[in-house]
């Protein structure tokens, strides 16, 4: 009887996965912030995530949780004299075989940045409404502060990191929602 229950549960899970909304891997280049999302910014990084883009910690392994691939874009003000507001924006997107794997990656984001805030006198921020579920962190000191919003949409995770001398969580959320809309639009 117990074996039957397990089999039924597994079938239900498979069935659930089969009907789960997904983002296809070929959409990755469209899942990060695009130049149109940041007028007056200049893009200084764009492409598939590579070794040099990997942070230390639980998200370093490119094959983590069956990851299908990842994309990254980086921006900074086109005007070199700008000193207020975001001075560097990093946008990431990663896709996984299932929403549950993406959840694991979002948890790994938390682990990664909890380490960062421990070492950088930062803090985890409260509820942030981006995507299906989200986390937010801030750290930094002096004239260099960072806000990170990481979230999940279906089988994808994404993050926006905003760095600058006079930035707020609103700067990060605004961009994160723009990017989240891209993930939502790509979900089928």
């Amino acid at each position: 009887m117990r074996r039957v229950v397990i089999i039924l549960a597994a079938l239900a899970a498979i069935s659930c996965d089969a009907s789960e909304q997904r983002i296809a891997a070929d959409q990755l280049p469209n899942l990060v912030l695009q130049p149109a999302d940041l007028p007056s910014f200049s893009q200084f990084g764009l492409g598939a995530q590579v070794t040099a883009d990997a942070h230390a910690g639980p998200r370093k392994d490119p094959a983590r949780f069956g990851r299908l691939g990842g994309w990254i874009a980086r921006y900074r003000p086109a005007d070199a004299s700008v000193r207020n507001g975001p001075l560097v924006v990093e946008s990431r997107a990663d896709l996984f075989p299932s929403a549950s794997a993406a959840k694991q990656d979002l948890d790994a984001y938390s682990t990664e940045y909890e380490t960062t805030i421990t070492r950088s006198s930062g803090k985890k921020l409260g509820e942030v409404a981006v995507g299906d579920e989200a986390r937010a962190f801030t750290f930094g000191s002096g004239s260099d502060f960072f806000y990170v919003v990481a979230w999940r949409n279906a089988n994808g995770t994404a993050s926006v990191l905003v760095e600058g001398s006079a930035v707020t969580i609103d700067d990060a959320i605004l961009l994160a929602r723009k990017q989240s809309a891209r993930l939502a639009a790509a979900t089928r």
Binding site: P35, S42, Q43, F44, G45, L46, G47, A48, V50, T51, A52, D53, A54, H55, A56, G57, K60, P62, A63, R74, R76, P77, A78, D79, A80, R83, L87, V88, E90, T115, T116, R119, S120, F139, G140, S141, G142, S143, D144, F146, L161, E163, G164, S165
Partner: protein, 745 residues
Amino acid sequence: MPRRIWLARTLAAVFVATIVFSGGASITSAAEDDVVLDPKVIGDPDENGAPPSGTIDFRDVDAGNALTECPQAGSTDNQPKPLDQRAKDKVEQLSNGGNDVKTNQDYACFPQDETSIAINPTNPKNAIGGANDYRLGWGSSGFYATTDGGNHWYDGVKPFPTVAGVARDHIDGGGDPSIAFDRDGIAYYNDLHFMRENDESGIFVARSTNGGFTWSRPCVPAGTDAAAVCGGNGDVRRPGDGTVAYTRDNDNSVNGSVPAHDKNYMTTGPRPAGVMPTCFAPISKTPIAAGTAACPTSIIGVDRLYVTWTIFFQGTATINLSYSDDRAYSWSAPKVISGSAPFCAGGVTTNGCDSNQFSTPTVNPTTGALFVAFENFNTPDENQYLVVRSTDGGATFQGPFFVSTVFDVNYPRSGALRPDCTARGQGGRNVLTNSCFRVNSGGNVVVDRRGGDFADDLYLVFSDNRNGQRVSSNTDVFLFTSKDGGTTWIGPTRVNDDPSQQPTVAQGTRDCGRVSGRTCPATAQNFGNDQWFPWIDISYKGDLNVVFYDRRLDTASTAGEWPTSRAAPNGRPGNYLVWNFGAQCSITTTATVTATTTTIPAAARQCLGDEAAIVAVPTSSPNPASGATIPGGAQTVFPFQNFNVSDTPSNWDYTFRAGIFAGDYNNVAVGRDQNVWAFWTDARNGRSARQQSGRNPICEQSDVFSDQYSANGGGKVSNSATQGMDLYLVTPCPLEAQDKGAKEK
């Protein structure tokens, strides 16, 4: 990862020790120290083991095309010029002011970095340089040759190796250049090649018999020893020519499933007395005696060629050696030479020194003795430099011998502690204050060329941050010398003679922010300016010549291309723009110094600073206490004359890819005519890339430069080197340099 292994073993050992000794034995514990050391690992694996080098991190590079020329300061060639030359901006005009010569001749804006140079012993006007060269749109191995004493240079990209039986035309990425001549004037170009989409990699040596203008093409052979093949029909190459080591991938993905070859360097020298020349079978590497049909004496070279490199696999990073007696046609099977010692901990085998990087070989030209130096990471905290020695042509080795602790765990590091660098794309590497290009402590070792009483004398340089902190780097260059063939070492002698002060206990020591109880000052202190990437050579008359990159001439700047990196976290003014520096000191006397020597004789004290002493060999892996005074921080006597080699500043934020990579080493060579050739990379022709998108914008670029000076008369710091410094802090990309089909109207 080795450090994880070390930690696991340490924890296990502590656990066992606690059980064994808990019955009342008095235990000396870490708690008795003034502070408790946080292990290097703390959730940051990049802090721990030997870092990969060279171009591998950037195997994804797809550099864009510059349809119009980039700034060309330093060009001296007389070739035809492009039709649509730009007007020179002020930085280019200033950068043209000195006598530095740009050796790469491409008009495009692709970077060149990570330099090596050698001088032809049969023709002092012939020099050959090598560098990572991205002119093809991805990392390759560039060569730069002159036969007129450096006035003009010919350049190109060395032919890519082929793999027999594989349906493609070459092994893709290249880099980690090392150039050497044998005594007959045949030149050798040693480099790394790897595929961008999988783990295939190899170490190769190409040969040039015309002063570096054309090169042989290495061949990975297939078949059997008796019927080995190289290329297709009509391929005249000898199977295996130039292939030192090669590993094919087994699953066609970048996942470390097979050993990875990395960070090679080569040297040449006479075979020691009694060592007979040998060839090696192309597939099995079986030794073949010279004088046989398969190893005719006609292909035996005057010198034995040695290549050392790192093999990364399954958490280890061993130093390996291969040699060739037949002018690089065949190579011995790789041999692990990093060995084991009581001061190595955490290896796969007990006391195994299996986490290493930055190997450099040197051969005594009178005895044929071979010495190899490398940095070792089998340590609980600070790392260490080691040397091994062979007196039989690389058949057997003695050592490793302990040279020094290397204080490189307190560098600023991209990641949680320098998120500004992470945001710029730097992945978990050591960096410096005010910038994000990656750095390491590696240097090199060179043996005295004179023989006789000097035959056992060695000189080794590296740089570290013993005089700085994570929040304010102050990396310095140190010399260590041995007078007994590498067994015993004397040092440190600080080579750079600018002000440098070791952080005091009140200032948080070198370990502030890293070790419990060591608090960094609220405002970062200025302990001195950064010097890094040292390299040393010695003239045939005993003149030591060191080069290194140096920021001492920038004392007050605050502006920069990346403002958040200039100020983060608690930055300080100056210490931003970069010059290539030289330092000289002459050795005319010597005396043997061994571990039992009580006082260093005067004859052995030349070129030593007042803090230099005989280094005590540790009986276990060294772990200097935080707060201890480290030699090298209070030197008052500076035997090395310092001077700027490059005539202008350079902004390394413009080197390549948001300023996160400018190569991993620097170079210098001294010819038989007492002429010193410095060969370095700088970004005087790089510009801000704000108008351009993508990872590798065309206005971010570095070039490779050469300059020459006398082996004992390099001069002093020139006032003109700081001319127009403000212009270099932020230099816009000339719109004319952009693709005319894409630039904004």
